[in-house]
């Protein structure tokens, strides 16, 4: 499904930083992978490289369903349409209603007829549990509701994989649960998911594999049981001792 081979990412502004150092991994279809690590470890950069929001350094390869998105000849818009992304700060379109947020890309990118996009949006709003807010504007929703709309917006494109970039970090504690519930449902339905999160409970419960990153490199990969109970590396142990 996703194949990452020798990917590095260097930022030159404001000063030269290697955010990713020779990262290689594979994510199978239907797999739920949770990426954790201390802040500045490159986990968000890794995720953002997967749909080319950050351009990884030349030399590496990121294959989404066999298409190398680092190849300049690849039409990145086509690939992105298959890769849903949920952001920490929701990034809903404030000038459009909830419904329009979900139908916009369907009609513009997927060229679906209005009625079809509308029906799809309504069924997704039902799935995330906010049908009554279809005509509201994002600013009038709570953080949890906004994030659920954002998930519905990404799902509306029928993506083959969903990327979650710290989806609950900007939420008030009482709203984290509702977003995680939606994500759990998605995982149970067999969606391929890559989640960067600090929710260890979610990682333990839902993840099939945990990737631990530090200083731009993958330090340790394993099942949640292995990772949380018996990690191999000292760096992982230290991290776990700090957060648990």
């Amino acid at each position: 499904m996703i194949e990452v081979r020798n990917v590095s990412k260097t930022f030159y502004v404001p000063h030269k930083v290697k955010a990713l150092v020779d990262v290689s991994t594979e994510i199978a279809a239907g797999e739920v992978v949770v990426v954790i690590g201390p802040s500045g470890s490159g986990k968000s950069t890794f995720l953002r490289c997967l749909n080319h929001l950050e351009t990884a350094d030349a030399g590496g390869h990121i294959l989404i369903e066999g298409i190398d998105i680092l190849d300049p000849k690849t039409n990145i818009n086509k690939v992105r349409a298959e890769v849903g992304m949920v952001f920490q700060s929701f990034n809903l379109f404030p000038h459009k209603s909830v419904l329009e947020n979900i139908t916009l890309a369907q009609t513009v990118v997927r060229k679906r007829p209005k009625e079809e996009a509308h029906a799809k949006a309504m069924s997704l709003l039902e799935k995330v549990g906010i049908t009554d807010k279809a005509d509201a504007f994002p600013d009038n929703l709570s953080g949890g509701q906004q994030q659920r709309v954002a998930i519905a917006r990404a799902l509306a494109m029928d993506p083959k994989v969903m990327l979650f970039d710290e989806p609950t970090s900007a939420l008030d504690p009482e709203m984290i649960g509702e977003v995680l519930d939606v994500m759990k449902t998605l995982a149970q339905e067999g969606m391929t998911m890559v989640c960067v999160t600090h929710e260890m409970g979610f990682a333990r419960e839902v993840a099939e594999r945990v990737i631990f990153m530090d200083e731009g490199a993958i330090v340790e990969v394993g099942t949640p049981e292995h990772f949380f109970t018996n990690p191999d590396h000292d760096r992982t142990k230290l991290f776990l001792s700090q957060i648990l």
């Binding site: 298959e82 849903g84 992304m85 952001f87 379109f93 890309a105 509201a136 600013d139």
Partner: protein
Amino acid sequence: MKTTANTRRSMPPWKYNLWVGVFFLILFSVVLLVYIATIRIEYTWGWYKVPSTFFNRETIEISSDIDGKVVQVTRKNAEAVITIKNETESKSYTVPAEDVRVNENDLIYYGDTLATYSEWRAGIMLQGLWITLKCSIFAIIFGIIIGVIGGIARISDNPALKWSAISYVELIRGSPLLVQIFIWYFVLGTMVNQILTSYGMAEIPSLWYGVASLACFTGAYVTEIVRAGIQSIHRGQTEAARSLGMSYGQCMRYVILPQAMRRILPPLAGQFISLIKDSSLLGIIAVRELLKASREVVTTQLNPFEMYFTAAALYLVITFALSMFVQYLERKTATS
């Protein structure tokens, strides 16, 4: 429209009304002072001459092209047909019936007046007003086009586009508009018109050089306004749109520009109000806009006070109308 008081008034009503009274007193005093001053210098007010500079009735004479005798005058509704005949030819004139000057059997010589009529004609001030509006509208349209393209180029990663936009903005903003108008007309205009003439083509009237200079000038400011508007939209909006598979163009069109537009409108209105006022400089390159028209009237009628007050009032009307229109747009594009 719903109005809400955004400040609480702490003054008691009698005090508040007192100060309202003071305001009108100041206003009245200023007008009075100006009036007294004009009396002091024995200025003769001639407001009655002003309307004729907007509309006037012109008498048009219809005269005969041939010598001969009027053989027939037939009136039908508001028109009259006068037929003149001599040995060799015969000619009929259809004229308005209001003032026919000849009767049947009259002898007519070449150039004699057969009939007159009068019609309303736009005066020089109305023509000037129209030129001002025309210049402003064209300059605004081109200014928006230049500004949107410039603004997008300004935030581009491509140095060729970005640096072109920066150079353009700095160049235009760094020199006075009057100098730019001169360059457009006396430098570029001379070159273009001479080249056109050498190919046997007609020269471009000075009006269009004026429009070009204003559009170019405004475009630089609009570029900065558009840039600021686009950059004020959080980058997460672009990322969200692009992550859904939208192209750069789609993202701009559906997500960024509609949001930026709302923030751009108020500074844009200010810019266009400036533009309308700046169009008064075009008189210097022989574009007969409102102020130039006023100046021409003043040279013949010798009533500068009235004409310049009139011109100022007309500019105020135009700019105020634009300001109202933009406020209407702002309300219309308001979200939620």
